[in-house]
């Protein structure tokens, strides 16, 4: 478009210049005649004038006029044909442009429509997951209750063998309840139904309580877990305690799950400025493969090496964690290489 405009401007200037050539010639002739008149005037007035040219005005003027008119007509015809070529090129360009515009609009519509369909499909899928998850929860709770009765011996004494298998069934059922709860949690986030209550909360206490609960797994894997916090009372953060706890639990559990035996998990709490609390959870476990790092917070995503270590998992934990932290006005990110462990960080606003 822009070069075209420049083209037009340039050719206009060229045409004007060419068309003005005969006029310039004619002006030159008239100029010389004027000079001769000055010469004659000078002679009359007894002064000397150096130039002595052309003698018959009329002949020269008419002659010059005819030559210039011929030249002008020639140039005019040439300019006209030039203009016609340009105009037809422009017309073609405009026609092509219009065709391209039509194509662009139609393609844009196709893509928008496809996108819309995908969105609808995604909504159907989410709805489906939501229904399934809701429907699964009740029977799973029923199973849990029944297994509990059996285990407690309320329905008769059990052999050791029977007890062993009941414990396995109970644990599997519990894991399934966990997965279903993750699905429901993600559904609440996606649908925007999750309601938050923000209050000043003690982050130190929340971290300590999560560490206390996870102690058996830490012990089983012979891990070292260290929690570092600034001295004195840490200012409360503005958060929804239950949800922040869920985030902490998820991140700490991940680092314990994906640590190698005898590994170390470091948790630090700090305050980089007067408005923010920063939590970091660092392990030296299996890490996250580089090509999968960008997907780590996506729905239903689990890294390849993580699946090998731990077959269970909904792939929703980090997705939920990110949604919760963002809803609090904080940020969550990570750092690390495959096989060298990973550090997760998140920030929360301090309560004012």
């Amino acid at each position: 478009m822009v070069t075209e405009r420049k083209d037009i401007r340039h050719s206009t200037v060229a045409i004007i210049l060419f068309l003005s050539i005969p006029f310039l010639l004619f002006a030159a002739v008239v100029g010389t005649i004027t000079l001769r008149h000055f010469n004659e005037m000078a002679t009359i007035m007894g002064m000397t004038f150096p130039l002595s040219v052309f003698t018959s005005d009329a002949e020269i003027v008419i002659g010059a006029f005819i030559v210039c008119l011929g030249l002008e007509s020639g140039l005019f015809i040439w300019a006209l044909s030039l203009y016609r070529t340009k105009a037809s090129t422009l017309e073609n360009t405009a026609y092509e442009q219009e065709r391209a515009a039509v194509l662009l609009v139609r393609r844009d519509m196709e893509l928008s429509r496809a996108n819309e369909q995908l969105r609808n499909l995604d909504e159907v899928k989410s709805g489906f997951i939501s229904v399934v998850a809701h429907q699964l929860r009740t029977p799973l709770s029923g199973i849990k209750w029944t297994l509990n009765l059996l285990q407690n011996g309320d329905l008769g004494t059990l052999s050791l063998e029977q007890k062993k298998f009941l414990v396995k069934a109970y644990e599997s059922n519990d894991r399934m309840i966990g997965l279903v709860n993750d699905l429901l949690g993600a559904d609440r986030i996606d649908s925007g139904k999750a309601r938050y209550t923000f209050i000043p909360m003690d982050l130190t206490g929340a971290i300590e309580s999560v560490l206390y609960e996870i102690a058996p797994q830490v012990h089983a894997r012979e891990l070292t877990v260290r929690f570092t916090k600034p001295e004195g009372q840490f200012s409360p953060v503005r958060g929804d305690p239950e949800r922040i706890r869920a985030v902490l639990q998820n991140l700490v559990e991940n680092s314990v799950k994906y640590s190698r035996p005898q590994g170390t998990v470091l948790i630090t709490l700090s305050s980089p400025d007067t408005e923010t609390a920063l939590v970091s959870i660092k392990d030296n476990g299996i890490g996250i493969p580089k090509d999968e790092q960008e997907h780590i917070f996506s729905r239903f995503f689990r890294a390849k090496n993580a699946v090998k270590v731990e077959t269970d998992g909904s792939g929703l934990g980090l997705y939920i964690a990110k949604a919760i932290i963002q809803r609090h006005g904080g940020k969550i990110w990570f750092d690390g290489k495959e096989d060298e462990g990973v550090s997760f960080f998140f920030t929360l606003p301090l309560a004012k």
């Binding site: 405009a94 442009q97 662009l104 139609r106 996108n115 925007g192 139904k193």
Partner: protein, 399 residues
Amino acid sequence: MIDAGVGLSLGEDAHLVGANAAQDALERLKGKKAEAALVFASVAYDQEKMLAGVRSVLPNAMVVGCSTAGEITQDGPAKRHSVAVMALAGESISFFAGVGENIAADARKAGAVVAGNVKKQSPNGKLDAFVMLPDVLVGNGAEIVRGVLDSLGAHFPVVGGAAGDDFEFKKTFQYLNDKIYSGAVVGLGLSGKFKMGIGVKHGWIPVGLPKTVTKSTGSVLHELDGKPAVKIYEDYFGAERAEELKKEPLAKLAITYPLGMKVAGSDELLIRDPITVDANGSITCAAEIPEGSEIRLMIGSREEAIKVAKEAAVSAVQQLNGSAPKAVIIFNCIARNKLFGEHGGEEISAIQEAVGRATPLIGFYTYGEQAPLGGEVRNLEKCNPAFHNETVVICVLAD
């Protein structure tokens, strides 16, 4: 001191959702008394019950609002049907609210009536800013703005957004205190000590060749280059889609391909949304297109739209002369929602970079926006409110 709190609520029970949103907004006012409230809600809710829910929490505030094509808060665009409420408080600022009815009969008069009603409530008859929420499915939006300016003065700072109905283009509602209206315009007048900054941008790009409007009356476009106006869409969309144009409201298909009108003194084209098409192929637009205008089809790009949204927000904040934004109201065209799809949050996020993420923010997806051309409110002589389409209008309030 202006204070604002925003609440958003989702769910099925209209009364409860209204009450919850209002309650959340009120709680975020930190104990201050809510003087006024803006309410934006989906038409999926029983409007009476929803508003009653809001009023059960805010019985004494000046409540104005409207149904929308999507609510917006500081958490981004609401994903499903919701109710959003912004409660406003301020010692040195007074709020007045009113309504102008029957836009269908006389749009300009309705505009003049709402502005007059609001103005006369102010003890000294003085207002400093005016927020309007009209219904443009029943009348010419530009005429309503003209009516408002008839009453307040040609260079009075006016912002607003036209009510929506979740992209159905059937019927929209306006709220004033306890009452639900349709086919009306409600207004909120602000008076006192405060600063206001406005950003207005669209960022749509023209494609194809210009066409000349050979016949039009007001906002109805009859002929382009001597042919029925709808032909422009039939040509661009193709025969298949052209059939759909007859069955579906034109706006549903064409909203992301609006018409751009060349106006004197501006390089950027002024945008006009096509709303409906009749049997003769005449297109009714959201505002007028004069005969002889040169118009082009416009197309959107997300990158450009995000860029201009941020520019608009930055320019709105600049007008505050260094004061910190206390409340942000966004009137964002439904076409931009369609353009962004699931990425609508990116646009709001870009705006928040300029106005501050923690600043209370409310807004909605509109069927047309009202704001001074170029967002000019500092030099009132150059403040010329107009009816916009496909545009994002960002209004920032500060002390």
